[in-house]
Assembly symmetry: C2
Homo-oligomer: 235 residues x 2
């Protein structure tokens, strides 16, 4: 195993562990301090929102964009299909998470207006950009009619916007955690109870995870080398 592959493997294990810790922290926060999960009680239905969004937009999205680097031995066509498949899962989770927020606002007592906060505005922008990227990606890179030279021209933009959308998603998540801590704890936040410490640590872990993922995705040494013997035949 080359030193490059071994280093990539170490980074892979580290970002997987941090990603899973992130999901567990959100889950623990909700179960321990925010009343757990429910399908019937509007205030509790909301709790699906942070958990599903964390799984979709932070964990799966990072896995989708890093898939080419962490599984370089697959053929390009297979990697593209798997990249698209993970995005399909993300889409389903985002729809469910959005629905959870909508239902909890709509049927909460008192009713809460929709889409008023900075978190929600940035979230809407992130989702619109995600959908545009998904549709343009499917059309340019999976639809068979597009010429290879066009794909090669578009690929760096697809990668740049992918990383951009991931960073947007992290910023939106941070704002969401910030909002939720303030709304949930109100004046008690200042006294830094255990829930506030957990929420703050969650935000810091989230940022650290983002830096690690962006480092892995932009490090030229981790770039997958094209497998010419297969791909020229597959093109």
């Amino acid at each position: 195993m080359s030193s490059k592959t071994s280093l990539l493997k170490k980074f892979y294990i580290l970002y997987q562990i941090i990603g899973l810790i992130l999901i567990y922290f959100v889950y623990y926060w909700i179960v321990q301090y925010r009343g757990g999960f429910s399908f019937t009680e509007p205030k509790i239905i909301f709790n699906w929102h942070p958990l599903l969004m964390t799984i979709a937009f932070l964990y799966l999205f990072a896995n989708a964009i890093l898939h080419y680097r962490t599984f370089p031995n697959n053929t390009k066509q297979k990697l593209k299909n798997q990249h698209a498949l993970i995005h399909g899962c993300i889409l389903i989770l985002i729809v469910l998470a959005g629905f959870a927020a909508f239902v909890s606002h709509q049927y909460g007592k008192p009713q809460i207006p929709h889409l008023y906060s900075l978190h929600s505005w940035l979230g809407v922008i992130t989702i619109i950009m995600f959908l545009s990227q998904l549709i343009s990606g499917l059309w340019c890179f999976l639809y068979p009619g597009v010429a290879v030279q066009h794909r090669e021209t578009l690929a760096p933009y697809h990668v740049f916007f992918g990383i951009g959308i991931f960073i947007l998603a992290v910023a939106t998540a941070l704002l969401g955690f910030c909002e939720k801590i303030i709304f949930a704890l109100s004046d008690k936040y200042k006294l830094l109870p255990a829930e506030a410490v957990l929420g703050n640590i969650l935000g810091i872990v989230c940022v650290f995870y983002c830096i690690l993922v962006v480092y892995m995705i932009t490090k030229p040494e981790f770039k997958r080398q094209p497998k010419l013997e297969y791909e020229t035949l597959l093109k």
Copy 2:
């Protein structure tokens, strides 16, 4: 003028305009809705914090990291000195901004505890990383004793962490805007009054500015070409 230089110039004008709009929005928010500026009233002293931090960590920091690309005709030594000089200004503004937050918390009635929120935790991490980068940058790239090959090895890390710290600063600013809107408006935030719209737009402009700056700093075509005729002599 080549098409690359012309495109860079357009981007330069755009990011300067957005940067100045950002500063103006923060200034307008404070003057219009948050009681303006003061050197004596703790609650108002705080208002220096968002303004100075926006000037330092969002506007000047972006200018410092983009300086090499937007003024490519200067010699490398001059660019390095100017890059360091802008960082000196940033340092002074950050100290003042931090002092404003400290004084307003310490002498506010009621007194507000220090460093309890996610914004402040992330802010402290950003400042520690900024100072580490500043000291290591001065030592590696300005101190004359370091060998050229060491500088060349360290330069990509310096660039990566520079961009990383800028993104951290933007994330911290977003959390600050989010916190401030919620604390200032409390229950009225949900009704989306003019101040809330301004605060949300400010956050979105901030994100757009960040994406533009990161795009400019990572686009290989905008990279400054070394001026061999001078720099080999200057090394």
